[in-house]
Chain length 141, copies 2
DNA sequence: TCTAATCTTGACAAAATTAGTAGGGTATTA
DNA sequence: TAATACCCTACTAATTTTGTCAAGATTAGA
């Protein structure tokens, strides 16, 4: 499996923040309840996203989390990498554990897979996803 | 990470068998030594591939493993799925743990990723990889 | 000022998965 | 018939995932 719940939870939360961009902070509980994500776990994820610079926080009453940049300037890849680390098809690509180095054929296909994954996640912004959500709602109603 | 060592080891071994297709069986030790894969571990993987019908075995002296079909009839996807189970970007796609079901936007991107992965692994056969290996050797020498 | 709401931090723990190890059993053939 | 090689199951170690918990810091608003 490419992504764990970290990426899934974190991306959903980011998307929620993107949806509220410009409308004030969202607190942890509201997000964790809406998407049924354990509060303390989500907290850790949002903390990572903050350290990576994608999220800002406001402490104290009425505080919460908000996107640090415009939705169009945050890609899905940024969020996923902040949470899951490098997104890779096989870790031999990063740590060359293979031994065959330059003549490994298996490597070629792993690279192909990885390129196509990166191509998707690096070319989809949170704004793109908001647009898609709007389309979905239109179709549903 | 999309693939564990299971898929990596197993794909390498399968490729080795594909390379020797029609030239008699290869024994476990020769493969495990060549690619530096723990013997007993590889044994388990090859056993799975046998149960899935991609590999035949010959017991006893002079025995070993051989591909059960022509390299052109075995895809990378078949091997990987036999070893790793369903290849997926996020398991919410299989077990709909999400709760939003039909209106989940996050799901869309996971589906895109998965399609592009499947597109690659289902359209690459072991024979394709053998051709690539030959090209690589030509370039290297 | 007091207090409740909120994020902050770091340690801890349970569960699941991965990556092996080990060893006895079975079939084949030189 | 002995050596070779696959077969099978159980066990273990290591790692990662998926949380839980508690004490603290900050702030808005009564
Ligand atoms: S580099 Fe990944 S298997 Fe060779
Ligand atoms: S279906 Fe996967 S996050 Fe909604």
């Amino acid at each position: 499996m490419l992504l764990s719940t970290k990426g899934r939870y974190g991306l959903k939360a980011s998307l929620e923040l993107a949806f509220f961009y410009g409308k004030g902070p969202l607190n942890l509980k509201s997000i964790s309840e809406k998407y049924n994500i354990p509060e303390s776990y989500l907290e850790q994820l949002l903390s990572k996203l903050k350290k990576s610079g994608y999220i800002d926080t406001i402490r104290g009453k009425q505080g919460g989390y908000l996107l640090a940049k415009e939705p169009k300037d945050i890609t899905v890849g940024m969020i996923l990498r902040a949470l899951e680390g490098e997104i890779t098809s096989s870790d031999c690509l990063k740590n060359d554990k293979c031994g065959e180095e330059n003549t490994c054929v298996t490597r070629i296909i792993f690279e192909d897979i990885e390129k196509s994954i990166n191509n998707i996640i690096d070319n989809t912004t949170l704004e793109d996803m908001i647009h898609k959500r709007k389309q979905i709602y239109k179709e549903a109603h």
